[in-house]
């Protein structure tokens, strides 16, 4: 079958130089293929490397062992060795990443924060604004907050701003790191809808869910990450 993401023998250790040089193996010789439009949920106890795997795919963690091949603009690219300029480009067009934490930029309005991915793709500003407003509305962000910087927003509001930003543009590969954690039922439902819409668009979605119920709604394939750690390195 055709893949969009192919992990080949990847591994990740963390060495804590200031804690007696402790070495922690988090990803152990892991290989797996993902197809376009596929939905996969990573499961396993905390420490089993779920978030680490997503961050390696997004390249915020450096991959020193193995290959992370993706199809970017129709070409095969190894994220593990791609030049920084290519990584920016991949993050702009091919891989989206949503976590529950917003990195707030002071003085930038919530709306501008949300539409940034569209502007980066050169979408006309008014159109981007329109889409941004729709998205904020769906996520129940009160209109009087749209033009304020998210710096002073509550945790839940910031989280929803981040989700809006994450889903405003569509990506062939979407990485979701507990996007629904600590959301109320109403907003959680919106997020689940957004995920399903992305699925319909043909995105390959790899997610981590805190909540078993959410996990069941989404699940295509469940990957238990604790198994990979038990193998011989």
């Amino acid at each position: 079958m055709d893949w969009i993401l192919k992990l080949v023998n990847i591994g990740k250790d963390f060495v804590f130089h200031h804690q007696q040089g402790t070495r922690l193996v988090v990803i152990n010789n892991f290989s797996m293929d993902f197809s376009p439009g596929e939905t996969a949920v990573l499961s396993g106890p905390s420490g089993s490397g779920k978030s680490t795997l997503l961050r390696m795919i997004y390249a915020s963690y450096k991959t020193e062992k193995g290959h992370i091949f993706i199809k970017h603009h129709g070409k095969q690219v190894d994220v593990a060795t791609a030049a920084p300029a290519l990584i920016y480009n991949i993050r702009q067009d091919t891989i989206g990443y949503v976590s529950q934490f917003l990195r707030v930029v002071p003085r930038v309005s919530a709306l501008d924060t949300v539409i940034e991915p569209l502007i980066a793709r050169n979408m006309e500003e008014n159109l981007a604004m329109e889409k941004g407003k729709q998205m904020l509305e769906r996520l129940n962000i009160p209109q009087n907050l749209w033009h304020l910087s998210a710096t002073t927003f509550s945790g839940g509001e910031q989280q929803r701003i981040n989700i809006a930003r994450g889903f405003i543009a569509s990506y062939p590969i979407m990485l979701l790191d507990e996007p629904t954690a600590s959301l109320d039922a109403k907003n959680r439902k919106v997020v689940m809808e957004l995920i399903q819409e992305a699925q319909l668009h043909g995105s390959c979605i790899i997610s981590i869910f805190h909540d078993k119920y959410d996990q069941q709604i989404i699940a295509g394939r469940t990957i238990d990450m604790s198994e990979q750690l038990l193998k011989e390195a």
């Binding site: 130089h17 963690y61 450096k62 190894d78 791609a82 030049a83």
Partner: protein, 263 residues
Amino acid sequence: MTGMPDKTNLPLLKVQNLSKFFGKHIGCHDINFELSPGEVIGIVGESGSGKSTLLNCIAGKTNPTNGAVYFNSSDGYIDLCMSDEALLRKIARTQTGFVTQNSRDGLRMGISAGGNIGERLMANGMRNYGQIRKIALEWLETVEIDPARIDDLPETFSGGMQQRLQIAANLVTEPKIMLMDEPTSGLDVSVQARLIDVLRKLVSRLNLSMVLVTHDLAVARLMCHRLYVMKNGKIIESGLSDQILDDPRKPYTQLLVSSVLKP
């Protein structure tokens, strides 16, 4: 590797094996990096790690002991370390900008804000007062200084305004590269946030490239695509900003990242 960034975008700056020794003391040693158009790179590290020495070598303010700094000027690549002073000074007032930590070093404090912005224009031959004035007003607005302050001396400005004025005075000739030495240090956080916001807008609007020296990792994360970590004059780790800050691997980088206070 299969995919590569757009080859037509040649690096603006190629620093090769750059070293600067002050007698026995190492300023910076065997530095290599490239800067692409539209890219912002940060040089981080503690005081005395050689960040500013490196920046001064790139800016032509310090003559390196070894190595080369190739700059993609409007006349093609030239080695800034081998060029004569006349050419270096010409490039420094047209194609590169330099923003210092202390605005007194980058501005003429006895000259009005408009005169400070206008100097680079006049240095490049503009001889029309009305035109100089018009451009100066536009730039004041761009860096969020009340245009009514055009005739005021920088001395009467706050620290943050002085830094923004310094940026305007450099950008007025639309340089290809901005070199910045701790531009946000010494400013309180709200003022710093505004400066960063102004800079981020300029970077995206002008497709500006920057080399930013800072010891502030939060600023580095907000501003920079890539980071270089310096210690004792050497680059010990480099990569995408989030890779360096979220997944630091070298002992020193781990120490640096874990030492940041989070509010």
